[in-house]
Amino acid sequence: MTTSVEFAEFLPAYLAEVDELLASAQRDLLAVEEAVRRGAAQPRAVRELFRALHTIKGLSAMVDVEPIVSVAHWMETSLRLADQAGGRLPESSVEPLVEGLRAIEQRVRQLGAGKPASPAPANLLERLEALGPHVLEAAPPQPRRVVLDAEAAFASKLAPSERGQLEAGLAAGQRAVRLDFVPSAGRAAQGLTINTVRERVAKLGDIVKVLPLSGAAAGGASLAFALLLITSSDDAALLDAVGGAPATVRSLEADAPEEAAVPLAPLPPTAVPVAVAEEEMEEPEVRRGGGLLRVEVSRLDEAMEWLAALVVNRSRLTRAVTALTATGAPTRELTAILQENGRQLRDLRSAILRLRMVRVGDVLERLPLLVRGLRRTTGKSVRLELDVGDAELDKAVADRLLPALVHLVRNAVDHALELPEERVAAGKPPEGLVHLGCHARSSGQLEITLRDDGRGVDAKAVAKAANAPVPESVDGLLDLLCRPGLSTRQEATSTSGRGMGMDIVRRIVVEQLGGELRMETRKGAGTTFTLRVPLTVTLVDAIVFECAGLKYAVAVGTVEELIDVDALRVVRPAGADGLGLVERRGAAVPLLSLERLLGRTAPAQAGVSRGAKALIVRQRGEPVAFAVDRLLGQQEIVLRPLEDPLVRVPGVAGATDLGDGKPTLVLDLGALGAAHGVRRKGAARPGEWVS
């Protein structure tokens, strides 16, 4: 039995997992650094960091990425010592560890781009290797102030650092408790497993250790898990988190007056089997709260494509029913079903779009590390506050938005915040604040505010740099700031550079994402940027047609009808003004030459080419026909607002890629007609989806 398993096939999954591990490692390292600055230990973060590096090392060995194995190995070695030393690291160790994570990240990127990982930098390996001895020096003996109930806490099974963690929690006035959970097949079917229980309990306190118990220790059940944790929650909340009885809670404090007298209380023997038996009768069902699933974005796109096909079909069905109704057929029920179907499609679409949502908090994971780096390069003292809650954003939007936010945070630290001495002189605390908050608005938009308490934008300096008069309003000031190439600094700073400024931010937020960017600023008090971006990208069901040799798209929702335009139906051919009349169901409808409106042809031609079509759009309730050459079909498109402000003209809703790799203009026919003095457009907008 020989195998043909190629571990190289696991490379994509490997890269994804290492990416996740790196993200959590960065968080933990920042927590460690924070603790180091306060002179405190951070045992949990040190252990998690150690474990992440250990896993990265093992995985990298399997897929044969030696440079990452080496870096991870030396980081792991010093972290193992730090873990054994009770979770303490010397301050000098943080920088090499940060560099180590960065080195791994770089190599993961290289592999992701199909390149080989470059060799590990020798001097980094040396510095990481040299960390070991320093780490041991950082461990001071810990004073014990509180005694644990040795029996309840299984003293012999706890590492010294774990004991220390429990005792420190007690000393800090929290509760140290033991929570016993009894697993069973019935509970597992309800989604109550040790993994989910652990997740729930972790929200109520710091889990120090979990121990499996059997026999007498498990209180009569064949298996129980004892979770030892530090918490401020009460017994009821803890028991609730593990599904109530037969779970138990007891204090770990030796001299706790209320509970210490209770020794390892056996569980009520009768209750357990009955409850379990009842639960086992239930059909096993899909686990609830079953955690996370990684899905490739392309699979979600595929689901979206199938949905688009459904939507196209529904549009056809709608038209067929409309035609049927016009013949006087009894279509009431059919129409009702069609309406219901439209609602269901909308629900299905939002369900699929929700799958593409990522937590804003996860997207912004890199910002603390960025601020940390800026602190070092600028010499400024900065605190970054993230207040992002549970807000979510479409991955496509998040990927575009992050660079804009990175840029704003960079600007805030680099330009807006003053040096500590300047701040003190201005009567401010020496530490500057950058606050990033966001919340979803009911309008389907996410509002992000980025606030600093720095010096504010100096309107005069901006005006001088832009060689323009001092703007009167803050909007005018923002316009100046967003001029391409503007910089109020004469020299490039190492962090923000020069010339690459707010114009990029505005382009991402306004042009790419179709959002809004606003600013408020007060001299000496700080600046707040407010960004509003759509939660999702715009998907539009579109009619694709050809006109004067080019392809265009227009949203189906805006088009009322497609008609053939032949010589017989043209009441009056287009005159010098490009306006003609065409007959539709006995009425004359204004006919506009789209070619002419788009400036594609000279007005020499007259008459109508054979087989031409027209799209009928309503403007203020009045139909208007737009002549086109050829219809190519109907499909769902991703509407992208045009990025270049020079190409932004009324009547053009944006651009899309029809799959041929070329940009195709998406027209807003109503606005196009209006811009050429026909009539103002009505309520219809591209972006209307299932009508």
Partner: protein, 135 residues
């Protein structure tokens, strides 16, 4: 139809192990992402082979081995420990606690498959090596 429980907190690692063992005729795989989940699984269903990572949150592989060997019905469950270079010091502890085989990453598909085959087909090999040192 051997039931195999693969325990590792890394999903990629679990999948690699499963890919290595899948050619073994008719084996069925269950994956657990922590030592605790493994112990829970073992209490819910009988297994023929346990493949266990050493380094996991809450309780590591050695503690799982110790717990498993303390259970009457799991005393002879074959256990393969999978771990990373640098953990060699744990090898003696794991074997003393009652693990049957020890694989160090990077291992080859053939080596882990050979170990699994030996343990599944020759039950006498599956006895803990040192009864006295059981935890």
């Amino acid at each position: 139809m051997p039931e195999v429980l693969v325990v590792d907190d890394s999903k990629v690692m679990r999948e690699m192990v499963v890919a290595c063992l899948r050619p073994y005729p008719e084996s069925r795989f269950t994956q657990a992402s922590s030592g605790l989940e493994a112990i829970e699984q073992l209490s819910l269903k009988p297994y023929d082979l346990l493949v266990l990572d050493l380094n996991m949150p809450d309780i590591g592989g050695i503690e799982v081995v110790e717990f498993v060997r303390g259970q009457d019905h799991l005393r002879s469950l074959p256990i393969i420990i999978v771990t990373t270079r640098g953990d060699e010091a744990s090898r003696e502890r794991a074997l003393a606690a009652g693990a049957n085989r020890f694989m160090t990453k990077p291992f080859t598909p053939d080596s882990i498959q050979g170990a699994a085959r030996a343990l599944l087909e020759k039950p006498q090999d599956a006895k803990p090596q040192d009864e006295a040192s059981r935890g």
